[in-house]
Structures are given as structure tokens and as C-alpha cells.
């Protein structure tokens, strides 16, 4: 009897000891919260992370909560803290602007895993991971194709604020355009806002007036720029999500983020008991970034070929898309 009790106690102890790391993998729903600056279906930055979690939900039980539209950082900070208090396993602060808040909040909740991006900074905290997109790679490919397409020798970029993946994308696009055609006029306009749709539209019009006949842009406010380009039938390259449905007649291709590639790694690390402290990246090589072409757009075969060649070059390392990440 004594031996039986001893065995049962040992078994119970073993269960208690291994439970924390295996609970997540044992079928218990993983509780994930997303805090993001714009609407969850913005066809851009926020939608990309929501789509990423939804892709994982196909083969894993995840209880997902979303707080979107938090352009105000203080609102986002309140949401981050609230989800942590409610015991969510993973809190995703999806915006470069949320770093400062996360740095203050995360130490108060050592049992919660936090991940944020796009950034490479984990603040040296054991429960904070960071993630970023090598958007310069897709930007480079788009830039090559844009320069190959331009008949007027001018391409234009509408950007929000010069930070995070927006900056990477813009720099990559300009570098790709110049690599394809050294004489191309690649003009960049950072409008100073992630949300000013009207200003983004006027920035696109300014590019067109200045002679750009191929445009691109990044962040949530580009829906305005796409509308302006559509009115003049000027070709558009999208990024972050597939933007074809916004203007099927002008969208040539979109760089699409597949965040599920790194989200799976983050969750696997959590299963293994690693709460954070790691940096993750999606890129062309790990298929976290893919280029989706709009089949309805009649793209010149030579232009597509130039893009595919650039993509292969980036993947095999023979082309450097130019950003520091």
C-alpha cells in the first residue's frame, strides 16, 4: 500500500511539474489577443496578422480576441494590460508604435507571453518576443517590376511615417527600381500619418502630376492612394495584404505577409516553455512573404520575368535588397 501511495504521489508530482509546458499542447485552447492600430479587415497591416492567426486556427484550437482601431497608443496600452490581466497566453501588440507601452507593461505579467512588431527589440525581457517582416525583399521585387513597366521613367511611393516595415518596404522598392533602371525617378512621399486617407490620395495625385505612371504605397491609409491611382488608371503595387479587390484593373501584384510562419514558431516555443526573448522574421526564403499576382492584370511577360529573377536572387543571396534588418 505504501508503495502504491508512493507511486501515485510520484505520478502526481510529475504531472504537476510537466503540466505548464504541456498544457498548451494538450488540446486546451490557446488564448491569443491581438491589439492593432487599424480595422481587422483593412486589407493591409492589421488584416495580415489576423489572417495569420486564423490560418493557425485551422489546425489548433485558439481562442482569439481582437482589439483593433487603436491608433491612439494609450488605448492600445490599456488593452494590452487588460488582456494580460485576463490571463491570455499570448498578447500580440501589432504596431511599431506600441513598443514603449509594452516595455512598461510586460514586466508586470511574467507569466504572459508578449510579441510585438514590427521591430527587432525585445527590451531584454524574457517574456517579450519581437517580429518583423523583411518587407524590403518584396519591395525590391516590386520596384524592379515597377521600373520595368514605367513608360514615363517615373515611379512614386506613398508612405506613412518612416519607421518599421513601411520604411523597409519603401527603401527596398526604391533600390529595386534603381537596380532595374538607374535613371528612373523614384520619388517617395511620407505623408506623416498612418490614417489620413485623404492626404494619401492627394500624395498619389502629386506623384502622378510629377510624372509617375506606376505607384505603390504602404500602411492602412493607402486605400485613398489606390482610389486616386484607379481614377487615372495608373498601375499599383500592393503590400501587406492582397489589395487586388480594391482595384482589380490597376493592381499588378501584392506582397502578402504570411505571419503564420513565425506565429507557429512563437507558439511552438511557448509549448516548449520559452515565453519570449526571441526575434522572428518573415521573408521570401521562409515563405513568410509571398508575391501574389493579379491574374486579371495583363502584365508583360518580360516584366514578370524580371520580378521572378529578382525574387530568386534575393532567396539565393545574390541580391541584397538593401535594408538593415
Amino acid at each position: 500500500m505504501k508503495k502504491l501511495n508512493l507511486c501515485l504521489s510520484a505520478a502526481l508530482l510529475a504531472i504537476i511539474l510537466i503540466a505548464p509546458s504541456s498544457l498548451l499542447a494538450s488540446g486546451k485552447a490557446l488564448r491569443v489577443a491581438i491589439i492593432a492600430p487599424s480595422a481587422k479587415n483593412d486589407l493591409a497591416f492589421t488584416q495580415s496578422i489576423v489572417d495569420g492567426i486564423k490560418a493557425i486556427q485551422k489546425d489548433r484550437e485558439i481562442e482569439l480576441a481582437i482589439t483593433d482601431g487603436t491608433f491612439v497608443v494609450e488605448d492600445a496600452a490599456a488593452a494590452i494590460r487588460d488582456y494580460a490581466k485576463k490571463g491570455y497566453d499570448l498578447v500580440l501588440a501589432h504596431g511599431s508604435q506600441y513598443g514603449g507601452s509594452l516595455k512598461e507593461i510586460a514586466p508586470d505579467f511574467p507569466n504572459t507571453s508578449f510579441a510585438w512588431g514590427t521591430s527587432a527589440d525585445t527590451f531584454g525581457l524574457a517574456n517579450v518576443s519581437s517580429y518583423e517582416a523583411a518587407s524590403d525583399e518584396g519591395g525590391y521585387v516590386m520596384g524592379v517590376m515597377a521600373a520595368a513597366m514605367s513608360k514615363k521613367g517615373g515611379v512614386g511611393v506613398v508612405g506613412p511615417i518612416e519607421v518599421g516595415d513601411a520604411k523597409l518596404y519603401v527603401d527596398g522598392f526604391v533600390k529595386g527600381a534603381k537596380a532595374q533602371n538607374a535613371k528612373i525617378r523614384a520619388k517617395v512621399n511620407y505623408i506623416g500619418s498612418f490614417s489620413d486617407v485623404a492626404l494619401a490620395a492627394e500624395a498619389a495625385r502629386a506623384h502622378m502630376a510629377a510624372g509617375a505612371d506606376v505607384l505603390t504605397g504602404t500602411a492602412q491609409m493607402v486605400v485613398g492612394a489606390i482610389g486616386a491611382a484607379r481614377a487615372k488608371r495608373v498601375a499599383w503595387f500592393g503590400t501587406q495584404a492582397n489589395q487586388t479587390e480594391l482595384a482589380p484593373e490597376i493592381v499588378v501584384a501584392s506582397q502578402v505577409y504570411k505571419w503564420e510562419v513565425i506565429l507557429r514558431k512563437i507558439i511552438a516555443d511557448m509549448d516548449a516553455g520559452i515565453k519570449g526573448g526571441k526575434k522572428y522574421e518573415i521573408n521570401l526564403a521562409n515563405n513568410g512573404i509571398v508575391i501574389e499576382f493579379n491574374d486579371a492584370y495583363k502584365l508583360d511577360a518580360a516584366v514578370k520575368e524580371a520580378g521572378m529573377k529578382a525574387m530568386a536572387g534575393i532567396k539565393d543571396g545574390s541580391i541584397q535588397s538593401g535594408a538593415s534588418h
Partner: protein
Amino acid sequence: MSDSFAVMIIVATIASGIRLATPFLLASLGEALGQRSGVLNLGVDGVMLLGAFGAYYAVLQTSNLYLGLLVGIGLGLLIGLFYAFITLNLHAEQGVSGIGIYLFGLGMSDLLFQKLVGTPRPILPFMPLEIPVLSGFPIVGEMLFQHSIIVYIAFALVPIMSFVLHRTTYGLNVRAIGENPEAADSLGVSVMFTRYSAIIIGNGLAGLAGAALAIELGIFQQNLTNAMGFIAIALVYFGAWSPKGVMIGSLVFGLVQSIVLQCKTFGVIPRSASDLASMAPAIITILALVVVAKRFKQPSALTKPYVRGG
């Protein structure tokens, strides 16, 4: 840069400034009317958002742009009626209730968008309406007479509102109750009717401003106005409560935005100063406000509820 190219850029910059000024002008004209009657409405942005969504959804469903404008105006009128009731009948504090209207508009427009539309879907915007003969003039024609109908409506409202405020009995009543409602009441002017009508019309214009924005852009998304309504309120002070002043303020704001955009496009403003330059329109507005605030006096009864014999 060749001379002809430079002229083309200047024309594009001014045309862009006029387009950017249009929603501000419509909203601030409406707010000016309300404030002249003594009622402050901080909820302009919320009304604009509801007007924008209403117009967008109507166009999405029917492809009728004019119906979209009417829906935007209608929603503005409806919210105006509600706002008039809570401020005039219930004597709610105007600042707080205005913020309530803003938050309601912000949340409700997003909720309706998520439930009824979901992913942003484009609508066809108004095409430019070229004014016969005038649009053919070199430079000026392209600058001023090749805009969408909404732009012409907005600028046509300036002399109309100026006429109404300064040349009609109704306008005199509005100004009188904005300065001294007791005196106006003693002379038989209905303070309630005049303020009700000014608030309702003002909100109708805010709804039209939102509708104009959504239809010009051909899209709706969460918080589309990006706080334009608050800028419009500031422009009322900038314009010293006169339609002409408000128009000048809107044009200054729009043109500064557009000049900054062009300068960034051509690299005149270096990228390192890009964010700083983006603040230029707001900084200029604040500076102008400081100057104007010293020279002009706001309507004396602004934000003061009126109770007969109270």
C-alpha cells in the same frame, strides 16, 4: 525643371489644396452657423463619420452618388435634431454632449461598416465636372473649374450663407440670439426655433462634409475623417465666425497641406524633416488662431444655455 512643368505642378498643387479644403469648408460652415446661434458642437467629426458611412453605403448599394450625398445630409440633420434636443431641451453641457456625439459617430460608423460591409470595397467617385468655357482657360481653368460637383457646392455655399447671415431676418435672428438671447426673446424672436434650425442645418452640412469625403475618395474605412471635424471647429475660430473667414481658413489649411505634399514629392523637404513638415498646417492654424483670438470676439452667448427668465 522646365517652365511649363513648373506651371503644371503649381496648378496641380492649388487644385489639390482646393480639394483638401472642401470637407473642412463644408463642416466649418455648418459649425459657424451653430456657433453664431450660441451653440458649440464638438461632435462635428462624429457627424462627418456617420455622414461618410451613410453616403458610402448608399452608393455601394445603389451606385447613385447623389443619393449618397442626400443620405449623408439626412443623417446629419437627424443627429442635429438629437443634439438640439439634448442641448436645448435637456440643457446638457455642450462640450461634454458634443464629445458624446463624436464618440457615438466614431463607434457607430465603424460598427455599421463592420456589420454591413466588412472589407473595404471601392465605389465610383464623382468625376470632375468641367465648367463650360471657364474650364478651357489656361492655368485658371484647370486650377479652379475642373473639380467634382461637391467642390462647387461647398464654395457656392459661402456667399449663400453670408447672404443668409447678413441680409435676411433669419440671419439677424441667429446673430442676435448668439449675442444676447434674452434681448432677442424680448423682441419676439423664438430662441428655441432659431437655435434648433441652426444646429440642424449645421449638422446637415457636417453630414454633407463626410459624404463628400467618402464619395471623393471612393472608399470608407474606420475613422475615415482622421479628426477633420476638430480641425473644422478650429477653422471657425480662425475665420472669426464669418463664412468668408472660414473659407479662407479652409483654403489656407488645404493649400499648406498640398504645398507640403508637393515639396516632399520633389525632395524640397528632406526626409529627415518630413514628420516636422507634416505638422505645418496645424502649426499655421494655431498661430493664426492666436492672432485672430486677440482681434475678434466670439458670440457672447456661445455655450450658454438659455432659459427664459432663468
